[in-house]
Amino acid sequence: MPGFSAKTGRRIVMGIPSLWLIILFLIPFIIVFKISFSEVRLAMPPYAPLFEWINGRPAAIKLNLANYGYLFTDALYVSSYLYSLKVAAVSTLFCLLLGYPMAYAIARSSPTSRNVLLMLIVLPFWTSFLLRVYAWIGLLKSNGVFNNVLLWLGVIHQPITMLQTDFAVYIGIVYSYLPFMILPLYANLEKHDHTLLEAAADLGARPLTAFRRITLPQSIPGIVAGSLLVFIPAVGEYVIPSLLGRTDQLMIGRVLSDEFFENRDWPVASAVAIIMLALLVLPIMVFQHFEKRSLEGAR
């Protein structure tokens, strides 16, 4: 096309997602960040302005750091952050333990079976998310399917409490996020060169040794991608712990929601969101920094 250079095309291609991120991530983030330094007040909106304007000019800035101090001194927030990180980490581990062999089996199946199996992985997620979580209530409750089956088999003599426990939250999160682990792992495992495993076997390596020394190291990018896709949304999960989880220990997503909608304390809620983002982004940035350095070292 005349007058339409490759450079212009590149700028347009880069510009559209950048604009999307600026409008839908950066601007809302700046607004939330600003609110986190405000003072709460009974008004609409329920926070005091950060800048004091005199004659159309910002005359003073009122930064309220107490919202952040409050989060680190109140045991509710500290325990909620730690509990959320624990739940997300354990759920990610279970997703990996179940998702890795599943992705491996799909990657090793015939091309026709692969498409069918991938469709079977994705198909349950065409139904409503809420309906699937409610289905787990029906399965896990005291007079639910699992307890009835276990009683009928004689494994237990009285119903066991599965609902409103950590176990139910892990089940719900692993169930909801399993495809996010399987799909990046499959994308990685499918590209592996099978002849390497044959060569290892020819050289006398046992299957487990070949897996540990060839398949596993090559699949680390898939493991990292899948783990991040599960861990990040799991930390801020709201619906699953609210429906399946404990009532005496809240996850940070529930605390955030309560601060916004029950207490109408937008500044503290914004501070909760900013700290949650920092807890997620900083370790990922440090990890990427070290990964980049190790890759540069390998070259």
Binding site: A105, R108, L120, R132, A135, G138, V145, Y175, I182, P207
Partner: protein, 33 residues
């Protein structure tokens, strides 16, 4: 089939059962009065 192949296929079947049990239970519940 190698033990590794059996393990991964077993995990695949288990995972698919895990994914479909809630859906099937909802279908079963919908048939109740």
């Amino acid at each position: 089939m190698s033990s590794r192949g059996m393990f991964s296929r077993g995990a695949l079947v288990l995972g698919l059962v895990f994914l479909y049990v809630p859906i099937l239970s909802v279908v079963a519940f919908s048939l109740n009065n």
